[in-house]
Symmetry: C2
Subunit: 451 residues, 2 copies
């Protein structure tokens, strides 16, 4: 009987970050009644408004009206293979122009199976030699580091500060790479309320990053997943909006503003690629070519769902984004206020957290190591879950930090979760300055039984 040792499988399967996520999932499965600040999933409330049939009908009516297709011909679009680059590129390009001032032709858009595939394709296209390195903000979304691991691309961590990526540190990383006969080929950054740090890149910092990309000849992979959560009126322009030199590949997702189950994302890649024959194609066309080796194409049914939803809102995500932003702002404010209330009552010394202006995440620093044992104790004895930060730190940091996600909880669950968390912190961390009871004696949390 065939038995394979994991050590004989690809190295990316031994990635400690993947291991940690596996452990986290296991813990969540074991304590289904715990209040979980762990997953960064969207809130389910908007799902009740969704109507897949209506969106499909809307898209099909549009496809018929636009091209003179009969209803049967339009219907076929859902069932056939479609082009690798996508079916709704024009609709997406229009929305980006309206909503974010990103002005690109449909040919510069490739529709992907979520932002994840867009990241994988872009990284694959750009990293052509073992010399090529990917700089990433540190801490960093594990999706990009796991894609790099799968492709065997070396990762260079660059410190993320409260104002976003440290551009000076990135400049230094470029010089260090060059001295080692390597080069930073691309830099991944999520400028708006990044997962997991919650930080946002200041406008001045955005401009400096674009300048450095020009000077050092690298491309920027901009992940725009959380831009929509800004308080209306406080948005900063996307890197792509500022990108006069076409240094930015802008990666987006419809998972959070529309819904995750469609698995539709995109890359905006308007860089010119010169072929051997001297003709020029947009980088998006090259990404589409690579896509034939990954997923062939993004389900036209899924694309139609998203396009139908966009068309229903005048070809814009602005209205939906505002509604979602209000929901996540409510949750984030609730989380921060709950933490503040407990601070007044006393929290252990050295427990600190940041105060992001948007996004799904708050980062908390503890005076003790944040490891699997601590997480298991928190889940088993206090009925509250969160995510250790270490797996998000390719540079090896984050050993004393955790991430709190408030995206899919309701306010009363956030309150109760914070109560449990604070009880846990007081019990587990010596030097607590306030009162509070040990959650073990609390009937509500003691009811959480490992199954």
């Amino acid at each position: 009987m065939t038995v394979l040792d994991r050590e004989t499988l690809h190295a990316s399967l031994q990635d400690p970050a993947l291991e940690s996520i596996g452990f986290l999932n296991e813990i969540m499965g074991c304590y289904p009644d715990a209040i979980s600040f762990a997953p960064g999933a969207p809130h389910p409330d908007p799902y009740t408004e969704l109507d897949a049939t209506r969106y499909l009908d809307r898209f099909l009516a549009h496809a018929a009206a636009e091209s003179g297709r009969t209803p049967v011909q339009a219907g076929r679009l859902l069932y056939e293979y479609g082009p690798a680059r996508g079916l709704i590129n024009g609709i997406v390009a229009d929305a980006l122009r309206r909503d974010q001032g990103i002005d690109v032709a449909p040919e510069s858009v490739v529709i992907t199976v979520g932002a994840q595939e867009a990241m994988l394709l872009t990284l694959r296209a750009l990293a052509s030699s073992p010399r090529d390195l990917l700089a990433v903000s540190d801490p960093c979304f594990v999706g990009i580091t796991s894609a790099a691991g799968l492709l065997g691309v070396g990762v260079v961590p660059v410190t993320d500060t409260a104002e976003g990526l440290d551009v000076d540190a990135l400049a230094e990383a470029c010089r260090t790479a060059r001295r080692a006969n390597r080069r930073i080929r691309a830099c991944y950054v999520a400028p708006d309320y990044a997962n997991p740090s919650g930080s946002r890149m200041e406008l001045r910092n955005r401009r400096r990053l674009l300048e450095l990309a020009e000077q050092e000849d690298f491309l920027i992979l901009e992940d725009n997943a959380y831009g929509f959560t800004a308080v209306p009126g406080t948005e900063l322009p996307a890197l792509k909006t500022l990108d006069t030199g076409r240094r930015v590949v802008h990666i987006g997702t419809f998972a959070k503003v529309c819904f995750p189950g469609a698995r539709v994302g995109y890359a905006i890649a308007d860089q010119d690629v010169r072929t051997a024959r001297g003709s020029t194609v947009p980088l998006a066309a090259e990404l589409a070519r690579l896509k034939t080796a990954v997923t062939v194409n993004t389900s036209p049914v899924c694309q139609a769902l998203i396009a139908g939803m966009l068309l229903e809102h005048g070809g814009s995500l602005a209205e939906l984004s505002r509604a979602r932003s209000a929901l996540y702002q409510r949750n984030l404010t609730h989380l921060l206020e709950a933490l503040d209330r407990h601070t007044v009552a006393g929290l252990p010394d050295g427990v600190e957290w940041n105060r992001p202006g948007g996004g799904f995440f708050v980062r908390m620093r503890l005076p003790v190591p944040v490891d699997a044992a601590l997480l298991e104790a928190s889940a088993a004895d206090y009925g509250v879950l969160w995510t250790p930060m270490a797996p998000f730190h390719p540079g090896g940091g984050g050993t004393h930090s955790l991430r709190l996600s408030c995206s899919y909880l309701d306010p009363e669950r956030i309150d109760e979760g914070v109560r449990r968390l604070v009880t846990f912190l007081r019990a587990k961390i010596s030097g607590a300055t306030g009162g509070g009871v040990d959650g073990r004696t609390d009937g509500r949390t003691a009811a959480v039984v490992r199954r």
Copy 2:
């Protein structure tokens, strides 16, 4: 303005096979009125029976009945992220047991974005060092060689004969690799009416391949895309059905029996993987871990469409497969009979083709080189398209062969296409033994204008 030379992008973008496919797509775009034997797309007739809404409802009713979910909770399944391994694994495992005698637990199934993603994930998991090679049938489906290219995995071509993969040649390839301090880690094979060769592996050959895999310690990637096209009663057991040693990862797709637009495929990977901590997980679980770096998960909407369709047919694909098989058998018979009729009337010497018992494809050998110029002449002057075989030959052969696909045409179009093809062959190949007119003088084909 950023301009990238294609030579500075990843090597897989310079793959001549990808180039050829790009050229083929371009040609098809230029001659939309040509009759095309090029794309291996499924026939559109069954699409008129499809009803996405009904399938979704069917799946949701099942999900509610099985788990005690309320309709709202069940509905959420479509909109949320789901598990990376998939949502419908049990339904798929049941169908494989009923339909093909492949008896595996749902935990050994991973649902993927088409068979393409299943191939990519399996290859990524198995090829862990530059020493590891992938053996492929030669000629071979470009999806697997392009996945190998994207991952930088070396490919060893092994001759495909009329009885399928040459197992002796594969044994020799294993020895050669070993002498070079490398190893054949896996072998890709489509045993049933392969794309593009149309060949089928004999039962004895299947057993020999399984024995060799055991002896030489490699895994088999079985691509089962065309098994369903066999004449009922003539099916041979899948390699996975015969796989007592768990040497086979069985890769399937719902694109052809259900519909392509769902982009749902799967890998059956029941090999035991031993982790560092000594526990054991199925290889499918490792593939699901890798999937988090590629597409995160397969759209639950798409999975629900396929599951609904399966449930509507008693959890089996047998009835649908029979209906589709009849359609493709009709087309294949029609193509072969049309070619036979023209043979009687006289065809140039040295024009030969095979006579597959199923599948979508017939392979034709010409006494002249089959290149881009010949294809363009065929399209421009005779209004008929086909696929040059060379891109399917990683070993460099196929320079004088073309592939005819009959899957998505109707019988009258097949007749007319063969008439055009024969006219073209008579005109272009010296030594024609029969009459026939040059298509250039034929009003019907002359109407094909390059746009």
